[in-house]
């Protein structure tokens, strides 16, 4: 039976019990080994006054154990017979939002933890808004510490109502609310005897069955070229003139014989061969890694993109995007950066800070002076060369970019492009669409 992978991240405020929840998932699904449990017991004597602390499973760095916090994104792996799971445990401190964006950017699903006693706080809204902005398809609201509110159905309903107040303003399609206690394991892997009023699945049950029908865009063909494959002195004479374009398909499907456009040249050609190590194939799809050989000898190199003639990408040098700012030095209009988009890095200048999202109210504030660390806002950016791209909401791989500060080489922003007003057209009069 083929097994697929679900990537999810957990987020919540400090002490909402994220690490405890992951520890519980691993412990109760029997994904923990004896030596890990032994190590937990060893550290219990030092830091926990003899009490086993499930959070020590994921808080791997010394400072984290000493301060009882999670500093950085920690990745954990476990499997059940139905699925493999990759967990990004992302911290809930206000100053660590960049780590949540990091952990969530590749996730199929986000778990937002809420302390049943505290209910929805600013961080819950912030995390949910980030999940929405990053277009994570599935959200689980884990209402934790239900034992401390006497397993009150009414409290659970109140919290759900608090969420449902602001959810309509966001782009999340699928939301599941689960009452649980990570510390005691109720409704994590095993159903809880304390919540007869709850008829839904346990958290693990939901993770195992949530339908993740391809997150990948299978419509417009996009192949950003990473590397040109030219054998030096091949023994096989058939490879003497081999010139292949290697990359990971970032959208759609490609077939042998298909007409494609090579960008930025804008020249059309035909796919002669789809080469893979395991032999040539008739077709390939997102997110496979392939090497494509074209019929015509045209200019294609790292940073170029092959696209299908249908559903062509937008292009332009004046772009609008939502960004999450990730650096202590704030963003102001006029600053210059390097912008990495697919396999292409270009010079860019931020021409305008259009707005900033207030995380407390989820209201948009127009024309802020700057975006500070952990702010989310909309910017305009001008690039030295045109960017061939899709709106982030259409394709996460061709709609995303990072900004790099020259000199320090720090990654300062995660960007999500909006749709472009112009669409790529092929060059040359001989070719008519």
């Amino acid at each position: 039976m083929p097994v697929d992978i679900l990537r999810f991240n957990t987020c919540g405020s400090v002490d909402d019990g994220k690490s405890t929840l992951i520890g519980r998932l691993l412990y109760d699904s029997k994904s923990l080994m004896e030596d890990q449990i032994e190590a937990l017991e060893r550290s219990a004597d030092i830091t926990g006054g003899g009490q086993i602390n499930l959070a020590n499973l994921t808080d791997g760095l010394r400072a984290e154990r000493e301060q009882g916090i999670t500093i950085d994104v920690a990745y954990r792996y476990f499997a059940t017979p139905r699925r493999k799971f990759i967990i990004a445990d992302t911290p809930g401190h206000v100053q660590y939002t960049r780590n949540m964006v990091t952990g969530a950017s590749t996730a199929n699903l986000s778990i937002v933890l809420v302390d049943a006693r505290a209910g929805v706080i600013e961080q819950s809204r912030r995390h949910t808004a980030i999940a929405s902005l990053l277009r994570i398809p599935h959200l689980v609201v884990a209402v934790n510490k239900m034992d401390l509110v006497g397993w009150s159905e009414q409290r659970f309903r109140e919290i759900r109502a608090q969420f449902e107040e602001f959810l309509p303003r966001l782009a999340i399609q699928d939301v599941k609310f689960i009452p649980l206690s990570a510390l005691n394991g109720d409704n994590v892997v095993e159903p809880s005897p304390h919540t007869p009023w709850y008829v839904g699945p346990t958290l693990l049950g939901h993770l195992e069955t949530v339908h993740i029908a391809s997150d990948w865009n299978l419509r417009g063909f996009r192949l950003p070229i990473q590397w040109v494959n030219r054998p030096n002195a091949p023994k096989d004479p058939a490879l003497h003139d081999f010139r292949g374009f290697s990359g990971q398909i970032a959208g759609g499907v490609v077939r042998r014989g298909q007409r494609v456009l090579a960008l930025p040249a804008g020249l059309p050609s035909t796919v002669k061969q789809i080469w893979t190590y395991d032999g040539a194939v008739e077709e390939a799809f997102c997110p496979q890694s392939v090497t494509v050989v074209l019929e015509d000898d045209i200019d294609v190199s790292r940073g170029s993109m092959l696209v299908g003639l249908e559903e062509r990408p937008g292009f332009g040098t004046d772009l609008r995007a939502n960004v999450c700012w990730m650096h202590a030095r704030p963003l102001q209009a006029g600053r210059k950066y390097l912008l990495k988009h697919t396999s292409h890095t270009v010079q860019a200048v931020v021409t305008e800070v259009v707005s900033r999202l207030d995380m407390g109210s989820l209201e948009v504030q127009p024309a802020p002076a700057q975006l500070a660390m952990n702010d989310i806002g909309e910017i305009r950016v001008r690039t030295a060369r045109p960017l061939f791209h899709d709106a982030y909401g259409v394709n996460r791989l061709t709609g995303s970019f990072i900004l790099i500060e020259p000199g320090t080489n720090a990654t300062v922003a995660a960007g999500m492009l909006q749709a472009s007003s112009e669409t790529v057209r092929p060059e040359g009069a001989e070719y008519q669409i």
Partner: protein, 300 residues
Amino acid sequence: MNSYHLDHLQHLETEAIHILREVAGEFERPALLFSGGKDSICLLRLAEKAFRPAELPLPFLNVDTGHHFPELNEFRDRRAAELGARLIVRTVEDALARGIAQAAPGEVSRNRLQIPTLLAAIEEFRFDCCIGGARRDEEKARAKERFFSFRDAFGQWDPKNQRPEIWNLYNARLNSGENMRVFPLSNWTEMDVWEYIRRERLEVPSIYFSHRRRCVRRGGQWLPANDLVPPKPGEEVRELTVRVRTIGDIISTGCVESPATTVDDIIAEIAAARVTERGSRADDKASEAAMEDRKKAGYF
């Protein structure tokens, strides 16, 4: 489920190939750390998938502690030759002789001494990127590691100040003297590695399979009996049917009693295992933060 579906190994594979090609596209002088162990064997196949039919665009580098299992070095040399790759070996022995590394009084383990040896090799060949087979599921400090892990001019890892890694957009930019370690297998588990070895029919060194070996009981484990640290009086020595689950130096690699003679046997054994693979490595048990401390100093 449509026909455009990748299973978990295919997902991990395309992610790793994408990373290897980013390395080839972004760095001037990358190298691939190849030990002959199971993880780096997977890396080699992924490199073939990323770069064939062209030649592999990077040499292999191995730091030989002088305490390697001989079976492993034989395998390493043969595989590099078969793939037509350039293999660079730098030894701790040589680093000690040249004063690049200094052993502490009475220090027998070569584990720490690999670090200066590796850093000297990086300097000698001006490598700007070393690809390694480390996985996040191996160890808690590794769980915080990026795919593209930045090291300063002293080879140090700063876990509190890592570059955020968003989507599949890797920031590979370096200033002079700085260095990147890249880990394409970050998201792989021990089980994934063995399932990939089975699917790709990859050859692995014989010591992964069950064999007869004289072992000495030390620190709660069966270690291979060897001349480097000979059995002391009172230490129990026995000939056992064992295999190794993870390969480090011969003086610190625990052997597990096992009848597994095929990859299928190994997969069944891992599925039923109740200890992690690193549980058999004495070098990681030194303290709660043993790996974190070595990584900060420039370890693989």
